[in-house]
Amino acid sequence: MSDTIVSLPDQRTARIPKTNYLSKENGLLSWLLTGDHKRIAILYLISITCFFFVGGALAGLIRLELLTPQSDLMATDTYNKVFTMHGVVMIFLFLVPSVPATLGNFFIPMMIGAKDLALPKVNLLSWYLYIVGGILVLYTMISGGVDTGWTFTTPLSTHYVNTNVLSTGLAVFVAGFSSIFTGLNFIVTIHKMRAPGMTWFRMPLFVWAHYAASILMVLGTPVLAIAIVLVALERTIGIGVFDPTKGGDPLLFQHLFWFYSHPAVYIMILPGMGVISETISTFSRKRVFGYTAVAFSSVAIAVFGFFVWAHHMFIMGISNYSVLIFSLLTMLVAVPSAIKIFNWTFTLYKGSITFETPMLYTFGFMGLFTIGGLTGVFLGTSGTDIHLTETYFIVAHFHFVMVGGMLMAFLAGIHFWWPKMTGRMYPEKISQLAAVVTFIGFNLTFFPQFILGTLGMPRRYASYPPEFQILNVFSTAGATVLGVGYLLPVLYLTWSLKYGEIAGDNPWQATGLEWQTQSPPLTENFAEPPIMDHEAYDYDWLEGQKEKEVASVG
């Protein structure tokens, strides 16, 4: 077992601490009315997992339909509804809250040495808003769905479709406020709740990444909210802000919508990058190379992210000069992203690397995110974009970033912090298998779509020319493997709640403050308010702590 850093307490004597945040109070109400950030994180974890599988089932239907060139599994308009609901569920109910609302909620206060988020009631409110949004989406699905695509493009959404645009819009509006309140809470907490000695540049990079993402949530989401309000008003009483027959301009809707929805992809990916910084340091036993550069690159992504939205509109009739400038700005975003990837790679250099499951997912993230990011440069270049836009190349690109990047990071984080959240280890061998299955299934699903896109297969259609069938069969087969890869963790993580090995305080020998307390933690997080007297990722300090402990016990 020399190839692992896992150090568990003696299983014969080890016990889960009697007093912890899970055992403090019992009963449904103690969960539904809780102010504890850890319990709210668990509530979020359960609910977003449910919605992930709803969205995943819809994805399965899409891939099944695309197994054959004709639209035979479902009618074409049903297909439109299915891919729309897939997008709405996955983006607003899974990707946006995935890491921030679960891992961020749980660990930001612990990492900075606070007892809770600054506004516990607002935190609970944001979960309830999320649930209301989720119920509205489910209502939409049951009552006939919506078929505008998740982008609510006007005038399609305001004039031409008879499906449930209003309930979906309301769902996105409400879920948006949930995200605003989460971001607001994080910003206030990071500013005002840090423990003594926890300076900005001693914070884990996970916290920096969430800070950057929170800025995007707080500044971007309200613009989406007002765009949706205007769509709703146009649909109900017929105001004319986006209606060209009255002098309104549908392009304005695109500007308002993408002003949120482009930064939204950074809301989704930045917290994932935060997870990667933590895992890569822990499993290489090294401080993250270029800590300051990685910290600032998060903020740079957040800032640049606000000035690239029009690259979604290159073929929509914006001026050539806009295209030129937004193309240039888009490529600028690649710089901070590359800074992160390069710094993580240098962190690996001469590190003592071990291959526990979170690290396998981390490697998956780095490879797939790099491909996803680089194909983004193709799409930011106006010439290739005009050729590739509205094809499967786009679909493959954002799935590489969102599924290959974000979901891998989410799973890396869930495995990494599972022992802290539950006090028990997940089973190592089968989870390594799941990570590999996910990686293979993912590539089999989405790599053929790059080829399909360059060959010119358009997205958003239930049928396609027969010559594309082989690659689509590959993709559907891959989706099946991917589905297995996602089901496995649900099964063995649930199993581990009762049968997993007792993890102890710090199974990974990680340096973060969250690992220096019992697992599962106390409701107050720490028995004594912590004082930060060392830099982040200081493994020498950790060694010193251990020696001190041995000395005092011996």
Partner: protein, 250 residues
Amino acid sequence: MSDSPAIAHGAADSAVHEHPPYQRHHFETMAQQNDATNFAMWIFLLTEVMFFGGLFTAYLIYRNWYYPAFVAGSHQLSIPLGGLNTLLLITSSFTMAMGVWCAETRRKSGLVLCLILTFILGLGFLGIKTIEYSEKIEKHHVPGFHYSLQSFLDPASDDAAKAAGDKPMALDMARHTEVYFSLYFAMTGMHALHMIIGISILGYMIFRARAGAYTAGHVAFVENFGLYWHFVDIIWIFLFPLLYLISRHQ
């Protein structure tokens, strides 16, 4: 510790640490708590700025494109009523600020009076807004199926247009007045919605203030609500000139 009765423990605790009852458990000091909630309120107002920012952007663009239609549209609004509303709101901001001062200096009856005055002034604003809206409905200036261009194609038939000296507009530009009224209703409607939310919270605060809730040293809620109320006021300070006073310099 767990054996001692909770009440006795709580009493002993507050005697030693002097934690006021309104300090939340996860804050180290009262100063930290006030600092954090205050900061949170400012960030929330920032999101509100972005929310209205989308509307102001739309206004800016269409006003540049359809200037004559926007001028003709603004002539349909009543400056006396809009001016009166501006006065009401500024006064309510003053009474709100006085309310915060009363809470800080622990004047209970003063606080209740100020909150009630703010409440009444807010309702007054909404009442006048209702009068304005009903005028628009009568003249078919609400965008949608019943929108009428008559006031702009034939200004002589419309008192307000005649008084402003409007000339008949070409059909194409006249139709763009609908965009003006779309923005008018979206912007003032969103503002009114914020007023309604504010007035509801004020009602709750009056109820609590009469029980002496904010005059015992903990004024954060009144202070933060004050920030919200002033913000809603400031939005109106921008809306009034943009919607009512276009072209008044001519």
